[in-house]
Symmetry: C2
Subunit: 305 residues, 2 copies
């Protein structure tokens, strides 16, 4: 099962890290950007090609030590369809290099529209009898505000194509509590959502005991992370908020169950590591690798792996 | 202000309809699809080009009687980046023809990532001093599960670029109540969300008395629609769920305030009208126009315009 593959790779590499490839024009070293601007002018295509080269360099530097990548769709959509092409090609490249590919798209809709999103990112579309894969990611993030109508179509596609999803449960941002922490009969909305998503797929557990429907739980709320780990024993966690957003290794301890059941995201700290070496960016891949190794070692110390 | 432009066009055409351009391969008449498959093979590009031709024909047939289009992003993403290119070009074409363009993307994220989504769809991105517009829609839909951190960046971009957003408040699907109807101190989550979004921008009302931050409220819940209209006098409503999802003209009466303050979406009933004429689809544009006129007349009868 797909979520087992993620857990297996984490165990193989003794590293529960997912590298967030969230490029912005200012994160890409000048030597890469200028070459593409020289070829394409100051266009969305130039930036999209520069992102692709930057990402491929990062993937080459990380793929033997980091088990997964998370692609934040916003930064690709910011370059229009040209950027979405880079999103697709980055996913392809990471998968070729043996990495688990999570599309951080936070999609949400109902019925046949939710199915269309699920097919787009995890499945296929049929055209005149031909099956075509638009993105072919291993996993995507999903927003639960629409209730289970917005989640079940994703789970159906997960079952058909052996993929996984991560549903937003308790997000890492300061205002996440405005809705998520509201209490109904003594239980908070985030716990309700967590229980709902675990129940939707707990009829099919993988070898490691997790369902295909994981949860996003922020590193910035360590108490809730620990609470949810206890209440949702079969739910795999994707944990953002480590590093730039303020969460440290000790904050994510509660996400793990004997070293299993969670993957911790870091984006800027890894992909912008070159901006702290005092050099011109030609060292961006080595700098990213050095930072990823630092993070791996910090997590190994606390997560029980 | 942007939301005034939408209201003005509704009043000019005495028609509070937004046409949902949500194409699927099976909605496109054979004579269009086969031509593009002949040129491009059974590929995502062929389908994306067919969608674009289909949409342009619909826009030509509707633009003098329907004030706005809503583009459901899922159906474009289902064709990968090739489909996202069609999403952009469809928006451009509709705007050229004088229609208000709503991207139904239901995006949601935090801080700088939410800003990236807002810039992508409503604003611009800077590359070496050059400002580039990735999509340039008039408005997008936004999901509120992350709290105001996920909405404020969109409002900032609305103010800078004179655009609008529609935040999901009470959605049209059967399970929308699982979260949205939960009661906290006697008030439901959807009312809380509605009050929050109205308050975030009520310092700047347009000529017609509405803020830049509208709400999505489903036609399938007429009682809640009426309740929200009373509680949110300065919030413009985007109302899905009419037609194929079961809502009728009498169900949306409560959305209006003396004929103002709401726009009603219909997708399949308009774009698939040709499938009910018993012909081969060459009449798809006229069939769509006839259906749009029927809907306009039905709404005129009840909405007070």
């Amino acid at each position: 099962m797909s979520i087992d593959i993620l857990q297996d790779r984490i165990l193989e590499k003794t590293n529960p890290t997912v590298a967030g490839l969230d490029p912005r024009p200012e994160y890409v070293p000048e030597f890469i950007m200028s070459r593409h601007i020289a070829e394409w002018g100051k266009t969305l295509s130039a930036a999209a090609e520069a992102f692709l080269e930057f990402n491929r360099g990062l993937i080459d530097a990380l793929c033997d030590i980091v088990p997964a990548v998370k692609l934040q769709s916003a930064y690709y959509e910011l370059l229009g369809w040209e950027g979405v092409r880079t999103l697709r090609l980055t996913g392809d490249y990471a998968r070729e290099k043996g990495m688990y590919v999570i599309g951080d798209v936070k999609r949400n809709d109902i019925g046949s529209t939710a199915t269309a999103y699920a097919e787009a990112y995890l499945g296929d579309v049929e055209l005149g009898g031909e099956k075509l894969c638009p993105f072919d990611f291993d996993s995507v993030t999903v927003n639960p505000y629409l209730g289970e109508d917005g989640i079940k179509p994703f789970i159906d596609i997960c079952r058909r194509f052996d993929k996984s999803i991560f549903t937003l449960v308790k997000t890492s941002n300061p205002s996440s509590g405005q809705l998520q922490d509201l209490k109904i009969e003594g239980e908070s909305v985030y716990v309700r959502v967590g229980r709902l998503i675990e129940a939707l797929a707990d009829d099919s557990l993988g070898r490691h005991g997790y369902t295909c429907t994981g949860a996003v739980v922020g590193a910035t709320y360590p108490r809730q992370l620990t609470e949810l780990r206890q209440k949702l024993p079969h739910t795999f966690f994707l944990v953002p908020g480590y590093g730039a957003q303020g969460g440290g290794a000790e904050d994510v301890v509660g996400a793990f169950d004997k070293g299993c059941g969670a993957v911790i995201n870091s984006s800027r700290a890894i992909i912008c590591a070159w901006q702290k070496t005092g050099k011109d960016g030609r060292d961006y891949a080595e700098a990213a690798r050095a930072e990823a190794l630092r993070m791996r070692d910090a997590l190994r110390g606390v997560c029980g792996l």
